[in-house]
Symmetry: C2
Subunit: 322 residues, 2 copies
């Protein structure tokens, strides 16, 4: 499988079989109170209950277990400031190899601890994308390891698609799916999985107002890069990649935006109504559904709750000040 070629529905099915021994089948939850609030049926796919606390394990696991033994033995290299790093670390450990994660010095302590806890080596870098890329290139050269990119990789995209594959089986008859968009791995996989099942499913991306490169890139017809993201959604600060952008162009109905206040309000609703700990990035699908009632009225909507890795103290402060 060429990491630079968009995956097909068959790749998503193969990924589902490949990761099945390792990944959880996460539940789909509902809330009549949230349905009433939104004016539509909401079906929440609980990837915060996935291993490492995020959907990222699906893609990392598929990529790492797609390698042949010789490749895997070289070790896995990635760059991540969060969940993908932990996901690669765990997948490498399960595969019996080692991982190196290039992580900005600004990475939250809890996320670094998670990466280290799964046994990966952490190589610090600066926050700027150029520093991340340069350090990653150095590590690849030094170690001879195999790169598993966080999103711009067909194996990763196919793995992420398994979340939506499961969701559509667990909640038959959905006519709409909303997932967060950052680098586009989750959403690209969702598009491929959903449209293989039913080409009429309306696919929406949910993006922070302060990191709206996907929204603007799709409007412009070309990838917009180099902006500085400013959002509470620490998992949604990446830019679309060369593999994910054309997939979204082909499949997506629209990218909808929500500001941080709406995200925090939606996050609080998920905690209170669904009794789930989710991170800000995971709450943005609900935020955009609540923010665009006319688009979703009466529809049967699947929403991907992408992850639950938060610093409880920091989130508590958000709730108190919001």
């Amino acid at each position: 499988m060429n990491p630079a070629t968009p995956p097909t529905a068959s790749d998503v099915l193969a990924a589902a079989a490949r990761i099945a021994p390792h990944a959880h089948v996460t539940p789909v939850l509902r809330s009549s109170a949230l349905d009433a609030m939104a004016g539509c049926e909401l079906h929440f796919k609980c990837e915060n209950l996935q291993r490492v606390g995020a959907f990222k394990f699906r893609g990392a696991c598929n990529a790492v277990f797609s390698l042949d033994d010789a490749e895997a033995a070289r070790g896995i290299v990635t760059q991540s400031s969060g969940n993908h790093g932990a996901a690669v670390a765990l997948a490498a450990r399960l595969r019996g190899t080692h991982a190196t994660v290039v992580a900005p010095r600004s990475t939250p302590r809890v996320k670094l601890a998670a990466i280290a806890g799964y046994g990966a080596r952490i190589v610090p870098c600066e926050t700027a994308q150029a520093s991340r890329d340069a350090t990653t290139a150095e590590v690849l050269a030094d170690t001879g390891g195999v790169l598993v990119h966080p999103f711009n990789d067909a194996r990763v995209i196919a793995g992420q698609g398994t979340a939506t594959l499961e969701l559509l089986r667990q909640a038959p008859g959905l006519d709409t799916v909303v997932a967060p968009v950052s680098g586009g791995g989750l959403l690209s996989g969702a598009c491929i999985a959903a449209h293989a099942s039913d080409p009429d499913i309306a696919m929406y991306g949910a993006e922070p107002l302060g990191a709206r490169d996907a929204h603007d890139s799709l409007a412009a017809g070309e990838r917009i890069t180099g902006r500085i993201a400013d959002t509470v959604c620490d998992g949604l600060r990446a830019e679309l990649g060369s593999v994910t952008f054309p997939i979204l162009q082909a499949h997506l109905r629209e990218v909808l935006l929500a500001d941080d206040t709406a995200v925090i309000r939606a996050m609080r609703l998920v905690w209170e109504r669904l009794k789930l700990v989710v991170e800000p990035s995971a709450a943005i699908p609900l935020a955009v559904v609540l923010g665009h009632p006319q688009r979703f009225a009466g529809r049967r909507v699947g929403l991907v709750l992408s992850g639950g890795n938060v610093d409880l103290d920091a989130v508590s402060a958000m709730f108190v000040t919001s």
Copy 2:
């Protein structure tokens, strides 16, 4: 079914069938990190994801749907400072009748809002049990309604037992079950369900150190009443009832205690590791398992996460100060 006669395993099975159209089959979750910390296998039954956010819906639903039409039409009366009130309110609405909930003036605002949100009438009383009982008696006399006691009622106990019935089906081979104990409805139902399946399953109650009447009653061989509970576990301040006490005497291995600091620490672990919002009362089984490692070493333990109804701001403050 006589509410004062202990329910049988058949009653639990009948309850499961009766509530099936209305209640959720809640998931059972695991965490390898928590297993490592505890030195045993932990299987968490997620009743925080039950309707109204607590196992209480099972018992209330079974009791309300056990009534014949003429009884149900008289309306349901109960006393509750929390989840049971909301559960009765929802069950009554689903049955097409009305409910009156006698609630102490000290009941948290969010819990009163939940009860009212399900359409029940709230009658305020003072906190002392005598005031609760007197007010409940008045309401029963005034309305001619049917009492559904929060725990000292065989229909309620049978309903609560369905949580453990499901748990044992979802996680075959458990040798130990730990549930919180307050009035004893949940734990009594758990005992009956578990021992019908396997009489060798070790049944433990988990109780706050500051509300240890069940622990002391079982040691004394008679019900101890009239103490003032002092614990962060707002759902565990009731005393054993005349129906629940002998069931626990017959089935229970032991009641284990945890102080509030251990409860809050366990609650934080559940939020962080399982990504679940649980209330303090729901975290006490994990607190006692972590506090008594020698008793649980190597065992396959089911723990009932009893509910998730919290005031987020208040819990945030607990985390910050703990």
